[in-house]
Symmetry: C2
Subunit: 152 residues, 2 copies
């Protein structure tokens, strides 16, 4: 790591580094993870240069480790994001978020006439494309594309 | 500046550093300045230790300089925030945001029956307290306190 790279975002002793976030999705990720309510130190960078993405976002959160359910929500809007678990300044676990095969109960169907929007029914989707993520409703068969994914 | 301090947030060549933001107001400042739409590199830190505030937020935005109108909006929710203008890695201008004496047209009156919420009338307030900021409506004389300030 060069001195310049080190300057980008402060090092954390224990916590989570979320890297390779597409720049246009950074604030959506912040909302989903409710980082505005996080009591520990948080450092967020956006529009940093990335060979892979052009521009990327990165988030470092001290003393915070996410549950699988939270990570899965991120997978829905930003697959390929990396969650790195940091312990004593070292990366002890790396995981690339991958879109699941099916999605149940997290996302709203974008078809206003779908039964899940009329009655209180748990939504169910098949993931028909993983990048960009595209969901097909189990009930009405309408497609909810990545631009219209609203996390409940 | 110590090596540790330098590590907190990457240096910027040209742009604005917004410092001494109360931690609980950081995301409100981000929303008001619409940093989610900012195309240049942005670094945001929150819950950093501060002798003055206990916990503070800091924002660094490359190649971005704010208009007085935008700075005044911040003054309404977070007086005492510092805007530093950076040119060629040096601070060339420091300004502490100060709450104005009166506020016109930016804030919504919290009284739902106020004429400004019924007809299309520009709001007008007198600042009756600057920290925490408290506004008195010119029309209905109701108080809008800092917890209820909604920027239009």
């Amino acid at each position: 790591m060069t001195a310049k790279k080190e300057l980008q975002v402060r090092a954390i002793k224990n916590g989570t580094v979320i890297d390779h976030i597409p720049a246009d999705l950074l604030f959506k990720v912040i909302n989903i993870l409710e980082l505005d309510k996080c009591p520990t130190s948080v450092t967020i960078g956006n529009n940093y240069k990335s060979d892979m993405l052009g521009k990327k976002g990165i988030i470092k959160i001290a003393e915070k480790f996410f549950e699988a359910e939270e990570i899965n929500k991120i997978a829905l809007i930003a697959p390929k994001v990396k969650f790195n678990i940091i312990k004593d300044y070292q990366v002890v676990e790396k995981s690339v978020v991958e879109a699941p095969n099916k999605v149940e109960g997290i996302v709203k169907c974008m078809n206003p006439k779908c039964i899940t929007n009329v009655e209180e029914i748990y939504t169910k989707f098949k993931v028909v494309n993983s990048s960009p993520i595209t969901l097909k409703c189990h009930y009405c068969e309408k497609i909810t594309d990545h631009k219209n994914i609203h996390i409940k």
